[in-house]
């Protein structure tokens, strides 16, 4: 068996297709001011995948609690959180269209007033005593995930003095290999703040912005209870490798 493609129980564990860095923000994006001193000045060093990058942490369903994907109830004390009740769901697949099963999906967000439950957030809007603002789940065999929450509010932040973040939910995805890891943010269709946001403006194209905007999915609304949004995510593609690279090839 080739070392580059390891087939186990019908699944393949080849290397990952080279990341198309043009689909992502550059490191240095001066209109998002914090990036200026936190962006490497040297080019990233490109490496061939080794086992270290083709593999990654494996998570089990029994590590998560039954309410971990229910942000409406997972921090409720003596009442329910304030705000618009929503369900968010979608599929995680790779660049070649294959589902990414058993991936750890972690989400975090501000409450309906735009305030985070974080010791460093000093915004005027109050903390909601019944809302924590984080949740997590594993994708199923088909790469499907679902959670319930409160729609987060927009908030001002110190970039320019009147910059506002649109409503957004942060996402972290483990994928199925270290090289497949992705951290991103989901926005909501129709939010007028999207067009103004310096962090969204770090993105290289309209198409990539569009890929971060969840669409209303009224067909899956819960009647008289919650609206539904659909948000699909594409991770790095796991390759079927038929030919191994020749190590001596390539010029610098």
């Amino acid at each position: 068996m080739s070392d580059m493609t390891t087939a186990v129980c019908g699944r393949t564990y080849g290397d990952f297709a080279q990341r198309d860095t043009a689909l992502h923000p550059p490191a240095y994006t001066p209109d998002y001011k914090t990036s200026v001193l936190r962006s490497p000045r040297n080019a990233l060093i490109s490496t061939l995948n080794t086992l270290s990058e083709r593999t990654g942490p494996v998570f089990r369903a029994d590590e998560l609690g039954p309410l971990d994907n229910d942000l409406i109830l997972n921090f409720a004390q003596d009442g329910l959180p304030i705000g618009e009740r929503i369900v968010v769901h979608g599929y995680v697949r790779d660049e070649f269209g294959r589902p990414v099963p058993h991936a750890l999906v972690e989400v975090w967000q501000a409450n309906a007033g735009g305030r985070y439950r974080h010791r460093n957030d000093k915004y005027l809007a109050p903390v909601d005593p019944n809302f924590g603002g984080c949740g997590r789940m594993l994708t199923d065999e088909n790469g499907y995930y679902v959670y319930r929450t409160i729609k987060p509010g927009p908030y001002p932040w110190r970039n320019r003095i009147n910059d506002w973040r649109p409503s957004h939910i942060h996402y972290s995805l483990s994928g199925d290999g270290w090289a497949q890891r992705l951290v991103t943010q989901m926005y909501f269709e129709g939010d007028p703040l999207i067009a103004q946001c310096p962090i969204i403006k770090t993105l290289p194209s309209e198409e990539q912005v569009r890929g971060l905007i969840a669409l209303p999915d009224p067909g899956h609304n819960i009647a008289l209870d919650s609206r539904c949004y659909r948000f699909d995510i594409t991770l790095r593609g796991r390759r079927m490798t038929h030919f191994e690279p020749t190590m001596q090839g390539g010029k610098s």
Binding site: D3, T6, V8, R11, Y13, A17, R19, T21, L23, H24, A27, Y32, T34, L37, R38, S39, P40, R41, N42, T47, L48, T50, L51, S52, E53, T55, G56, P57, V58, L64, F75, G97, E106, W108, R117, H118, R119, N120, G132, G133, C134, D176, G177, R181, L182, V183, T184, Q185, I199, I200, L203, E207, Q208, V209, L212, T234, R236, M240, P245, M247
Partner: protein, 223 residues
């Protein structure tokens, strides 16, 4: 009669979909990934910085580090994740099909936020064994790191190598793939022993850019 499946791997759609774009983890990354550090207790089971138990095979070690920005200021809001092989050089993932023992007490993954005061992140783990590169050449023992923080638009990947593995480091194909030999040193953690602490401590300072004190920008990888 045998039937040949003609169902293609990708039934519909384009050959290659665009990867979803990365965005910064932001200043409150701890809420989602380390809620106790954000200041509240919500999950029964928390992922954290302790990778090894008393049962884990191998040499117990601690990894400590700090992250500096281009002004030389500590990045105190950084969140670091690590991924490593076990003491036998085996990854706890089905993609590592080599005939080596899995250690049931060792996942090989952890995460730690830098301390909001000191800026220090810390992991308690074991020293990993050697893992081969794509062509079978052994890699020096190493730990993969991912940095997430406000101002970092795409999570930064780097590696930690061990300062007391000089011979293995000299032969490591990834280190040797860094054209500028002077930059390789940015990935080498230095070993120290501390009184009262059983495990050796490996320390690595990471610089997002060159710093005014003459520190060199750490090598980051496009993996």
């Amino acid at each position: 009669m045998n039937r040949i499946s003609l169902v293609p791997t990708v039934p519909f759609g384009p050959v290659r979909l665009p990867e979803t774009a990365s965005q910064t983890g932001g200043p409150y990354v701890h809420i989602g990934l380390a809620p106790k550090q954000a200041g509240f207790d919500i999950f029964e089971n928390n992922f954290g910085h302790v990778l090894a138990t008393a049962h884990t095979r191998g040499q117990p070690i601690a990894i400590e580090g700090r992250v500096f920005d281009g002004s030389g200021t500590l990045v105190r809001d950084v969140l670091v994740e690590i991924w490593q092989a076990n003491a036998d050089g085996k990854y706890a993932h089905p993609g590592d099909a080599r005939d080596l023992p899995i250690d049931p007490s060792f996942r090989g993954w952890g995460r730690a936020g830098a301390d909001f005061e000191t800026g220090v992140f810390r992991f308690e783990t074991i020293k990993p064994g050697s893992v081969p590169a794509a062509d079978g050449v052994p890699q020096a023992p190493h730990v993969c790191l991912l940095l997430l923080a406000r101002g970092i638009n795409v999570g930064l990947h780097t590696r930690l190598y061990f300062g007391d593995e000089e011979e293995a480091n000299r032969r490591d194909p990834v280190l040797n793939g860094i054209e500028w030999a002077v930059r390789r040193q940015t990935l080498i953690a230095q070993r120290s022993e501390r009184n009262g602490e059983g495990a050796a401590v490996y320390s690595l300072d990471i610089r997002l850019q060159d710093t005014p004190d003459g520190g060199r920008e750490t090598v980051f990888f496009d993996i």
